[in-house]
Symmetry: C2
Amino acid sequence: MLKNNKPLILITNDDGIQAKGMNELIRGVRSLGKIVVIAPEGPRSGMSSAISSVNPVRLTLLHKEKDLKVYSCSGTPVDCVKLGINEVLERKPDLLLSGINHGSNAAVCVIYSGTMGAALEGCILGVPSIGVSLTDRSSRADFTQAVWYGKYVAEKVLQQGLPKGVCLNLNVPNLPEVKGLKVATQTMGYWTKEFKKSRDASGYPIYWLTGEFANEEPDNEQNDEWALAQGYAALVPVQVDMTANRWLNRMKKTYEL
Amino acid sequence: MLKNNKPLILITNDDGIQAKGMNELIRGVRSLGKIVVIAPEGPRSGMSSAISSVNPVRLTLLHKEKDLKVYSCSGTPVDCVKLGINEVLERKPDLLLSGINHGSNAAVCVIYSGTMGAALEGCILGVPSIGVSLTDRSSRADFTQAVWYGKYVAEKVLQQGLPKGVCLNLNVPNLPEVKGLKVATQTMGYWTKEFKKSRDASGYPIYWLTGEFANEEPDNEQNDEWALAQGYAALVPVQVDMTANRWLNRMKKTYEL
């Protein structure tokens, strides 16, 4: 491939510019193309597809070398993607990578995840996009296997593209040797026992968000939680269209005026 | 219906406790049951399904009268719903209403919307949930028609429930007389020309999020933008499951290891 035809790859995350997961991902995919990193200046976990609708956003160039530029952004993960594609990059990137997240984004976490918010945004803006997460929230987690699987999927997507309106949610189990990769569905479930009630320094009640995941499909061998529990990386194709198409006709009868 | 069997209705929004849209909705549906309001203490537009993962959340009882309690919450719209269902309400509510939002949440805005983030959260937690929006961002918008359509859909949902994993996204056009209601699909499209570059007081560059919606399906008469443009309220059934099921088999062949 000619030098000036190198793939252009935008990288972001929701754990912030300093996170180990993203920095290991950058090293892992460096050879695949020209890399531009635009990541939040600090942690933005659980930011979903939030956008900065009230306050302006700032962008800071932190580092520049051959085929690598690194910016921090004061906004959300989605702001990073929007700024990258609208304002920073000279052309639409060939690939967006978000992560590697410190912690799982399997099952219903796809809804809350800033990592996946960024991947969905890339997808909305027409860029093949992958969110990558490791099921270990530790700041010093071992990303060796997650980087390998992330790079494997990234190379395939660079070769083959993705369907319009579809991005990928890759979760890698925290194991020294992952067994392989399964394409999977989003596990249905919800979080329960969500708050730890406490008191602030003045004695006023405060609530810390915590909780446990309640799996509503523990016996479904097609879903991402199952694949992870069996020691496989789980790859879910995620779509921007949230219309519940199978209910349209029944709802027309009930609701139309 | 016996007094102690009145439906229990949780109301929230993303424009904050003071917003006209929510307060008109409360007045409009007051007769339907026992109302508990838990809304953000200030504007949270564009918060999507964001959760407070780093900082604790505070809850303040502002007002209490027969069959109406009003709380403000320091967190996001989703935090409001989680707190309501986990900590405040004596039982799971029969209905969750989110809105009425000042501004459209049709098309891809369902992804960024805090109004719809709250409705999706209710749905994940097993509560029939409706997001209601008016296509007028003004703080003094006229919510007469939106309240009427919101109450109409709320009554139907109280009678008939909703399918598991599905909530409703109701958008009402800003017209003195809305023509009727169409059940619709989420219009495919994206936001473009998204930033207005400016300078802060010290001369540093800042970016304000703005933009225009690019409709990728202007001729699709089934979608919500079409219904709104024709003068109808648009009701989209929205599902929590984001799996792109139609691509699973092809992706298995490409990616599995």
